[in-house]
C-alpha cells in the first residue's frame, strides 16, 4: 500500500460521495428528495472546490466554491423546490419498474467510463487523476437520468448533474476553469433552470402533464 496524502484521500472520498449522490439520484423516486439530493451534490462540489483552493492556495477558487454553494446547493434547489410546490408535485413519485436494471446499467457505465479514461490516466501526473473517471461517470449518469425518467423536473436535475460532473473534473484535474468561464457557466445554468421552469408551466398548461413522453403527441408521424 502506497502511503497516500490526506488531501488525496479526502479528494477521493469526496469523489466517491459525489458519485454516490449521482447513484442516489437514479434510485430516488420522490421529487422533494431528488432535489434535496441534488443540493447535497452541489454542496459536496463546493467542499471539493474549497479543499482544492486550500491546498493549491488559489484564492479565486474560494470564490468559485462560494458561487457553487450559493447557486447549486441553495438557489437552484430552492427554485426547483418552489416550482415543485407550485406544480403540486411534492408527493409525486415516478413509477420505476426495472430500476434495478437501470442501477446495474449505471454501475456498468461507471466501469465503462473508467475504461475510457484509462489512457488519459496513464498520461496524467496529477495525484487526483483517477477522479477524472468518476467525473465522466457522473456526466454519463446524469445523461442516463435524463433518458430513463419521464418527469421533466427529474430531467432538469439530470442535466444539472451532468454539468456538475464537468465542473468536478475541471476543479480537480485542472484546478478550476478561468473565472470568466466559470461565471459564464454558472449564469447559463441559472438561466437554463429558469427557462426550464417557465417551460414546465407552459408544458403543464398545454398538455396537462409533466410527463415528457406525452410530447410524443406533438410529432407529426401517424401512429
Amino acid at each position: 500500500m502506497v502511503a497516500v496524502g490526506l488531501y488525496t484521500q479526502a479528494i477521493r472520498m469526496l469523489a466517491a460521495l459525489v458519485l454516490f449522490t449521482s447513484f442516489a439520484l437514479l434510485a430516488q423516486t420522490r421529487m422533494a428528495a431528488l432535489i434535496r439530493l441534488f443540493a447535497w451534490q452541489g454542496a459536496l462540489l463546493a467542499v471539493t472546490t474549497a479543499l482544492v483552493a486550500l491546498v493549491t492556495h488559489q484564492p479565486r477558487l474560494y470564490l468559485s466554491a462560494l458561487l457553487t454553494l450559493g447557486l447549486k446547493a441553495l438557489l437552484i434547489p430552492w427554485f426547483l423546490n418552489r416550482l415543485v410546490i407550485r406544480l403540486e408535485l411534492q408527493h409525486e413519485t415516478e413509477d420505476l419498474r426495472g430500476n434495478a436494471m437501470v442501477l446495474l446499467g449505471a454501475a456498468a457505465l461507471t466501469v465503462f467510463s473508467y475504461y475510457v479514461v484509462m489512457p488519459i490516466v496513464e498520461l496524467s501526473t496529477l495525484v487526483t487523476r483517477n477522479v477524472i473517471a468518476v467525473s465522466l461517470a457522473i456526466v454519463l449518469l446524469g445523461m442516463l437520468l435524463i433518458i430513463v425518467r419521464r418527469k421533466a423536473v427529474t430531467q432538469v436535475v439530470g442535466f444539472m448533474c451532468m454539468e456538475n460532473g464537468l465542473f468536478f473534473a475541471a476543479v480537480v484535474s485542472t484546478y478550476g476553469m478561468p473565472m470568466v468561464v466559470e461565471l459564464g457557466v454558472a449564469f447559463d445554468v441559472l438561466v437554463a433552470s429558469i427557462l426550464f421552469g417557465v417551460f414546465f408551466l407552459h408544458l403543464r398548461d398545454s398538455i396537462d402533464s409533466l410527463d415528457v413522453d406525452r410530447l410524443n403527441r406533438l410529432r407529426e408521424a401517424d401512429e
Partner: protein
C-alpha cells in the same frame, strides 16, 4: 507422445477401460433378451452395467493417481485412420466420474425398472440403449482422434434420443425427443466444423497431430467459438438450453440421472479437451465469453428452476445453473491463463473440475431420489406431494443431503467447489485490465445470488415435497423404496459428504489433470496438511472442512447431551399444530411451491414470460358476491419467442422456399441427380 510403452500399468489401465466399454456394450446386448426372460436378464444387464462402472472407476482412478498417459491404436474405423485411443488424467477423471454414477445407476436400476415391466414399451429397448449410451460416453472419453470422437459422440446422442423417447406414447415426450435430437445434431455439426478447422492446420484427424499444429490466432478463435457453441449446446448453456428441461425429465429417472449427471459433463470434457488440450494458446477473451455465458446460465437456470413445480423439470433447470457455474470456473481459468497467471488458471480449472464431479454426484442423487418418489407415488408435481419424510424417511434423508449439496452449503461438496470459484474470482487484483477487475467480482456476486436462489429453490423442493402433510392419497400411502435403490442413493450421498469434507485430498488428485493440461498442480492448496485447504496461501484464505464438521458435531453433541429430555425438563408433549382456535387445519392450508416462489417471481418478474390470471365469477343473484375464484399461472421461457421461434420460422420459410424444387416428378429428380453428378465430377477432376 504416441509412443506406446507397454508397461504393466498401461496394459492394466487400458484393459480396464476396454472392459468398461465392453461390459456396457454387453449389457446392451444382454438387455435385448429381457423381454423373453425378464428376471435373469434384467439383473444380468444391470450387473454388467455395474461392472462397466466399476472398471471405469478403477481405470479412471488408476490413471489419475499415476498421472500417466496411455495411448493405443485399434485397427477399426476408416482405412486410413485407425481408432486412436488415449487415457490421460483428464479422461481418467471424467471416466471415474462416469463410473461412479453408472455404478449407482446399476444398483438403482433393477428395482426401478420393475415399473416399466408391464408397460407398453419393452424393457429390452431401455436396457439396450442404456448400455449403448454408457458405452458411447466412455468411448468419447477415450477417443484420441476426431473421427472416433464424433462416432462415439453420435452413439451417445442417438442412444440417449431413444431413451428420451422411451415412453413415446406421450406426445410431449416425442416432441421433447425431436427437439433433443435436433439440438444434438446441430451441436455435433458445430463440433465437426471445429475439428475441421483444426484438421486444416494439422492435416490429420488425430488429436496428437492437432496438439502440435500451428494455428493462427484467427482460426484458433474460430475453432474455439465453434467448439464452444457445439459443446455449449450439448451442455445446455444459455441460450441453447431449451431442449434440456424438455428432454431430461421425460426419460426414466435413472436415465435422467445419467443424462443430467453425466452427459452434460461429457460436453464439459469435450470443451476442456478441445480448448486446453488441442488449442495451444488460450486467450483471455475466450475466458471472458465463458465467464459471462456461464454467469448468465447460472442465474437464468436457477431463476427458471425456481418457477417449476415439476420436480424433474426443476432439477433439469438446475443442471443449466450448475453447468453455468462450471463454465464460470473455466472462464476464470482461461482469463488467468490468457493474462499470464497460470497458477491462478489452475485454481479456476480445479474449481470447474471439482464442480463437475460434485454436480455429477448430487444431481444424480437428486434425480434418483425423484425417481424414487415417482415410482412410489406416480407423482411428479410438487404441488401434490407433502409429508414424504414420514412415509419414506431414508429416501428423505438422502434427498436432504442432495439438497444441501446442490445449495452449496458447508460442509457438503457443492460448497467447496463454489468456494474455490469465489477464491479464484477474488484474485482479480493481479489483473492489469481494470474492466476485468471490475467485471469478475460482479460475476462472483451474481454467483452468490445464484447460490442463494438455489438454496431458496431447494428449501421449496424439500419443504413442499417432504415436509408438511401429504396433499394426495397416493402420497399418503407411499412407502419406502427397495433397499438397492436406497443403497445407490446412499452411496452418492456419502460421496457428497466425503468430497465436501476432504477437499485437500481431492485437489491433490485433481492436480494430475492440471499437470497434464497446464503443467502444474496446485501444491499450495494442501501445503498445511490434509486438514487445511488453502487454495492460494494460508494468509489469503483457508477452510478446514473436517474441523467444521467436527465443530458442528461437537456443538450438536453438547447441545443434545445438555438438553436431552432425560437431562432437563422431561418428556415432550405432542399436540396438534396451532390452528388459531379454528380447529381444522387442512392440507389446503399448507404453503405451496407456487406460493413459496411468488416473492422471487415478483422481484425478477421480467425474466420470465409470466401469464398470470385470476378469474373471479360474481354471483348473478347478488352483486359483489364472489361465486368462484380461479387462479392460473403459466411460466414460459423467454428464449422461445426470442430465439427459437424466430429461428424455426426462418427455417420453415427457407424450407418452403427450397421446397419449390420439390416437383413430385421422377424425371426432375433424376435431372437433379444428374446435375449433382456432373458437379461432383467437375470438383474431383
Amino acid at each position: 507422445m504416441a509412443d506406446p510403452n507397454l508397461t504393466e500399468g498401461t496394459v492394466l489401465t487400458l484393459a480396464l477401460a476396454y472392459l468398461a466399454v465392453a461390459s456396457a456394450l454387453l449389457s446392451a446386448l444382454v438387455a435385448l433378451a429381457t423381454d423373453r426372460y425378464p428376471v435373469v436378464f434384467k439383473i444380468t444387464s444391470f450387473v454388467l452395467l455395474g461392472a462397466a462402472g466399476i472398471s471405469a472407476v478403477a481405470a479412471g482412478v488408476m490413471n489419475l493417481l499415476s498421472g500417466k498417459i496411455h495411448t493405443a491404436q485399434l485397427g477399426l474405423g476408416l482405412p486410413w485412420l485407425a481408432w486412436h485411443l488415449r487415457l490421460d488424467p483428464l479422461s481418467g477423471f471424467f471416466m471415474a466420474v462416469t463410473g461412479i454414477v453408472v455404478l449407482a445407476v446399476a444398483f438403482y436400476g433393477p428395482a426401478y425398472v420393475r415399473q416399466y415391466q408391464h408397460g407398453p414399451q419393452p424393457l429390452s429397448v431401455l436396457g439396450f440403449f442404456t448400455g449403448l449410451f454408457v458405452a458411447g460416453m466412455l468411448l468419447v472419453l477415450m477417443a484420441d482422434d476426431a473421427f472416433l470422437f464424433l462416432v462415439a459422440w453420435e452413439l451417445m446422442s442417438l442412444s440417449s434420443y431413444f431413451l428420451v423417447t422411451y415412453q413415446h406414447q406421450y406426445a410431449s415426450n416425442r416432441r421433447a425427443g425431436y427437439l433433443y435430437l435436433l439440438m444434438a445434431e446441430i451441436s455435433a455439426l458445430l463440433i465437426l466444423l471445429a475439428f475441421g478447422v483444426l484438421a486444416q492446420f494439422s492435416h490429420s484427424f488425430a488429436f496428437h497431430a492437432m496438439r502440435h499444429a500451428q494455428v493462427p490466432p484467427f482460426w484458433a478463435t474460430t475453432a474455439f467459438v465453434l467448439a464452444f457453441l457445439g459443446f455449449g449446446l450439448k451442455a445446455g448453456l444459455i441460450p441453447f438450453h431449451a431442449w434440456l428441461p424438455e428432454a431430461h425429465p421425460v426419460a426414466p429417472s435413472h436415465i435422467s440421472a445419467l443424462m443430467s449427471g453425466l452427459m452434460l459433463k461429457i460436453a464439459v470434457y469435450g470443451l476442456i479437451r478441445f480448448s486446453y488440450g488441442l488449442l495451444a494458446h488460450i486467450r483471455w477473451e475466450w475466458g471472458l465469453v465463458l465467464l459471462l455465458m456461464g454467469t448468465a446460465s447460472a442465474l437464468w437456470g436457477v431463476l427458471y428452476a425456481l418457477m417449476q413445480h415439476d420436480l424433474k423439470r426443476l432439477l433439469a433447470y438446475h443442471s443449466v445453473e450448475n453447468i453455468g457455474i462450471i463454465f464460470m470456473g473455466l472462464g476464470l481459468s482461461m482469463i488467468f491463463i490468457g493474462t499470464g497467471h497460470p497458477v491462478l488458471g489452475v485454481l479456476g480449472l480445479i474449481a470447474a473440475l471439482y464442480h463437475t464431479l460434485n454436480h455429477a454426484l448430487f444431481k444424480s442423487l437428486l434425480f434418483l431420489g425423484s425417481g424414487a418418489i415417482l415410482m412410489r407415488t406416480h407423482e411428479g408435481d410438487l404441488e401434490h406431494m407433502g409429508g414424504l419424510i414420514r412415509r419414506m424417511p431414508q429416501t428423505a434423508f438422502l434427498f436432504l443431503i442432495g439438497c444441501l449439496s446442490i445449495s452449496a452449503l458447508p460442509p457438503f461438496n457443492g460448497f467447496v467447489s463454489e468456494w474455490l470459484t469465489f477464491q479464484s474470482a477474488l484474485q482479480v487484483s493481479v489483473l492489469s485490465n481494470a474492466v476485468l477487475r471490475a467485471i469478475i467480482p460482479v460475476t462472483a456476486a451474481l454467483l452468490a445470488l445464484t447460490g442463494a436462489l438455489a438454496a431458496t429453490c431447494f428449501v421449496k423442493v424439500y419443504g413442499v415435497a417432504f415436509l408438511g402433510r401429504a396433499r394426495t392419497r397416493r402420497i399418503r400411502h407411499a412407502r419406502e423404496v427397495h433397499w438397492s435403490m436406497r443403497l445407490a442413493m446412499g452411496t452418492l450421498a456419502l460421496l457428497c459428504l466425503l468430497f465436501g469434507v476432504l477437499p485437500t485430498v481431492t485437489i491433490r488428485v485433481l492436480g494430475s489433470v492440471t499437470k497434464l493440461l497446464l503443467h502444474r498442480g496446485l501444491p499450495s492448496a494442501s501445503v498445511h496438511g490434509w486438514l487445511w485447504l488453502t487454495p492460494v496461501s494460508a494468509g489469503v484464505a483457508s477452510y478446514s472442512a473436517p474441523l467444521v464438521v467436527f465443530g458442528l458435531l461437537l456443538a450438536l453433541g453438547i447441545g443434545y447431551v445438555l438438553l436431552h429430555p432425560r437431562m432437563s425438563s422431561g418428556a415432550i408433549r405432542r399436540v396438534s399444530a396451532w390452528d388459531c382456535g379454528f380447529g381444522a387445519l387442512s392440507t389446503r392450508m399448507q404453503y405451496t411451491a407456487t406460493a413459496f416462489s411468488m416473492p422471487i417471481r415478483r422481484i425478477f418478474n421480467p425474466v420470465w414470460l409470466v401469464d398470470e390470471s385470476t378469474t373471479v365469477h360474481m354471483d348473478p343473484r347478488e352483486p359483489l358476491r364472489v361465486a368462484s375464484v380461479e387462479y392460473q399461472l403459466h411460466i414460459g421461457d423467454r428464449f422461445w419467442p426470442m430465439l427459437y421461434e424466430p429461428v424455426s420460422r426462418w427455417v420453415l420459410s427457407a424450407a418452403r422456399y427450397v421446397s419449390r424444387i420439390q416437383t413430385g416428378r421422377v424425371r426432375t429428380y433424376l435431372a437433379y441427380s444428374f446435375v449433382t453428378l456432373l458437379v461432383l465430377l467437375w470438383l474431383i477432376r
